[in-house]
Symmetry: D2
Subunit: 361 residues, 4 copies
């Protein structure tokens, strides 16, 4: 009997989500004759009344390979075990969710999402016997179980393109320009895009920075008649001994989709360089959106196919990963437990330092 499977996408969007959905549908429906049900807005589509579900067939996949975002929508409220109602009160609605899953005849879930989403999936399986398979999604690439997550290289490409643009302006105006990119706990996007975009300084959460080292770098460049400097700052970068990013900031900064870390660097440099001409660009949502690059489309397709295989083989409780360029299933439990942050002494940071990039620490 072909399976009847639900798919959901949880957490922030990442380029490639639709490519994963497409691969699951094309393979599951096309070859195993699954019935695939798309659950809208993470699990919200099963908790609301009326339920918001989409039957996903081969026609649903038309044109979505190249599409950013997710055709299923996503949700940041999300956790059915601690679900906020409109008044902000939090209740455990997992029992409702479980009965909705059963009521819809779903024999398994494929849950595409970050560690929060995967922990929910795991708990649904453990506490309520809902069969789940996971597909990891984190644009920050901070999951040690998988070599690289889909969407990450698209975000790096977007940040690198932004650096190419800022370069010409910085050079024309003899300016220090700061680009703030995503990365609250892991600096992968800043690190890779900074190398790719020819940044002069890269500030990441893993290496607290001393602003004096940035000042030195800027002045050394000036002495070589390089009057501009490009700094990439991960949103989680902090000064050594300080917590610039952690202090309660003014509201514009939040509205502006971040900016606190970049502004903190700008303020510190302004003070020391006695200039008022340092500018911060916050890449924000421009990193997440847009069509996935080819790399991510291929990766997302492989992961989607792998997820179908896991479900078809009854390997519930596993999450599909890329390990040494091979697609493998690992226990969700293991996969979500370990983060991968940038190793300050690792080869990639060393290569960046070798080409003259300053990390501020």
């Amino acid at each position: 009997m072909p399976l009847r499977i639900g798919i959901s996408t949880g957490g922030g969007d990442a380029p490639g989500l639709n490519a994963v959905i497409r691969a699951i549908v094309k393979y599951g429906v096309g070859q195993y004759h699954w019935q695939v049900v798309g659950i809208e807005d993470a699990f919200d589509g099963l908790l609301e009344s009326p339920r918001r579900l989409q039957t996903l067939d081969l026609r649903s996949c038309k044109g979505i390979l190249t599409l950013g975002g997710t055709i299923l929508g996503t949700s940041n409220r999300g956790d059915p075990f601690a679900y906020p109602d409109p008044d902000g009160k939090v209740t455990d609605r997992s029992a409702e969710l479980v009965s909705a899953i059963r009521d819809e005849g779903l024999e398994g879930l494929i849950s595409i999402g970050g560690d929060g989403t995967q922990k929910i999936a795991l708990r649904l399986m453990r506490d309520h016997d809902i069969p789940v398979v996971g597909v990891p999604k984190t644009i920050d690439n901070d999951l040690s179980a998988t070599d690289v997550t889909f969407g990450f290289m698209s975000a790096v490409q977007a940040a690198s393109d932004a650096l190419d643009r800022l370069h010409t302006t910085a050079e024309a105006h003899d300016r220090v320009m700061i680009l703030e990119v995503m990365g609250r706990d892991a600096g992968w996007i800043a690190l890779q895009s900074g190398i790719a975009g020819g940044a002069d300084c890269i500030l990441i959460p893993e290496i607290p920075y001393d602003v004096n080292r940035l000042v030195d770098k800027i002045e050394r460049r000036r002495s070589l008649r390089r009057y501009f400097t490009i700094i990439v700052v991960a949103e989680g970068a902090v000064p050594a001994g300080g917590e610039a990013g952690a202090s309660p900031g003014p509201s514009p900064s939040r509205r502006l989709g971040g900016g606190r870390a970049g502004v903190a660097v700008a303020e510190a440099l302004t003070e020391r360089l006695h200039t008022d001409d340092i500018r911060v660009t916050v890449l924000g949502h421009l990193q997440r959106g847009g069509t996935p690059i080819a790399f991510d489309r291929v990766l997302a397709t492989r992961l989607g196919v792998g997820a179908v295989d896991l479900a078809q083989e009854g390997r519930w409780g596993e999450i599909i990963c890329l390990h040494h360029d091979r697609i493998v299933g690992l226990p969700i439990e293991e996969a979500v437990a370990v983060y991968r942050t940038v190793d300050p002494d690792g080869e990639l940071v060393r290569a960046a330092r070798a080409v003259g990039i300053e990390f501020g620490g």
Copy 2:
């Protein structure tokens, strides 16, 4: 006798500056055997000691057609008639500039810049008999003398690309997303990119907005099951009867290369929609940098060639313009006097309204 001509680029950079320089050099040097001297950082290169000048020959043009920024650098200090020294005191250094021009044997200047730059050029000509030819540059496209300025369509393209990216995220997250683009006094970039990027609302300086109309638009969309809304805001957009953008804002906003107009809209919507989930992206310097699109490369080339013709024909005091797709020289005086803002009742706004775009007024 071939001419010896100085070129300078003043004000903010715009994609196509290097294409103008290249055309002047290729034509002036290649066909009229001019000596061309690039003055670095607007007029600063003639005011500083030692002077910073570059001989521009055919080799200097290698690879610059595709390059954003300006190989000559630019300056925002700029006005030699009211030149700020490091202490902030302002002095008239025009006499110095004039003797430097004569000392360098420059028989004419081609001045590429906005209205501020052109007014300086004009004054150099009137008060000091320095022969000048102008090339208009304003990324805001707010000069009535010319159909369109180079760099403008590249900025529109950048903003439209950003909207494409924001679209998928807005849709995935059921969000109101605001993109702030350049345009202090004229809303051309917001208007054209908003139409091109499928925005739902466009706010421009020329049409003060009533936030209630935005709320209505958002709610009408929701009733049609369109749970996201994209708003493009020109940095000079203001609420009807108010001056949101004009009030002294918190420093992060300035550091962030703008954002005040976008944040004001976000705050106003937040209050009325009772949500905390509205995000602002400030495109900022990402609009100015990067390689010019083909349209701007062609336009910049035509203008550069036209400027050489003006100088060669001794038509000093003229600025090279595009009028009904023909290249013509006009008196600088006339050209810099008249701005072109968006006509709220014009065909372009009407077309935008026709496809359902709300202007808030």
Copy 3:
């Protein structure tokens, strides 16, 4: 009573077709409550049995602004007055078409297409009293009635991007590289993309070329240590006194979506330069596809809105054009009669020559 209107798209596709359709539907349906019927594959959808028609409402427009091609499909068979059946026999099926139009209750047609399509529309109106409004479409930009056609600048951008890519390879390998672009009778794409992409030579139908002038150009460049040369060739370019493009060529060339003009130049140069290392790239379908650039999305939107206005005002028999940046309706009859080719003595060719581009004549 709201109108019931049919839309069709005829001839080769051009970036912006869907943006025109979207504007017509958003305005016609959204503001005048039209019923809009999309006819599939030009008029084929009305001639086949069962008919292939789509009701176009606001939902049909979701996501199509950015989409290349046409959601209605198109046809190259097309002419209902001389319609080829599968055996190649040609019959007049206009009477059938007219009764299908009446049978479907269509009170007017908006016909988006090139001169072939517009002539058919005109004949439907004259001979059969079918009310039609036209929207001009020619990627070659060879229609004198309108300043510029949608899709053209996207094609120029694609060709210019291709030249940027070829440049680096040509330079690395000291090579003559030839890019063949569209333009059977008019060289606009070659001319504009050649200027934008920094080509050394541009060959267009309007200026028959003498291959010796190309050889001279290549050798002059070599003497300046520029060992590579980039040549853009319109598919309709011909040698002076010859008809290289017109002779019956070998089949690969046709299969390859063109190439004859480019290959002819390569062969001629090979003979004279005694090298076997000249390469031709045929841009072909890569020029037509893909998302329209912002310029074309705005233009297409304005034209679509203008077409609705014409129909709503009963100005049947007119075609919507851009004239001196204003949207105007003109009699179809006048508009399709006059082609605009490149003026060999015009300002654009002169500007290209000024920056050193060789036309071969």
Copy 4:
């Protein structure tokens, strides 16, 4: 004593070559105070008189990270052990090369190139005691010693972008469209870009194709009302039991930078489908040129840094590779001996089949 090192780039260009050169110079010169000498046009710059060499210092690296091609130029003649003179006669000029290397005081060579180049390097080392370090370059990604080669993903991205463009045209015109990409012996570019670009069929050298299976695929799609089909063909793809690509073809095909494999498929399909409407696009040089994507810039930087480390540590005779995402040195001899072709039963082909892609075998 700092080293004096020569760098050369050999074979076809690949996006990232300049990023490798930049990393070597920035690290070697900036941190080890090397003297770096760029040899122009592979080894030709040392064999010609006068020699063509460039001193590479930090200023030479300005702006080259984003630049396609190679600032050193390359050569396809290349082999100094069997060097063709202008008359086509081949002589061993290795002794001359070796004395030029010694004469210039080069204490080592870093040779960036494909297997041909590396074999020459190895022979210079073995036969003549010239210390060499290699950096692998093959846009085809067919070297088993390294996980992935720089430039490859940029080529995949270019091919995937081309497929996105062809898609809309194919769909608008109900057409079979064929894209021929690079890959004489290995189908990696076709495979990855085909998956990324949503191709319906992928033909690679490793899986000889039966055209009847393509016909079946096209007809199955038609029965599902999908009237267009996209086929990616590697230039080395051959029919089962046949040698379509190997037969002596007409000259246009060679001039057109390939096309034989794509045309062969088109001819075979034309015969069986009784249509004359199948089009081939040859991506050709558009795959090699242009700015490297971020992925390749990072990879190239890491490899350049690794090459400097090898030389600095005296590990001559090694080539720098990426193995399980770690940078390692391997004996050149081992590295060049083993090609990596697509495994017809491997996971990537299986994933492609899973989403419905037909390989024709």
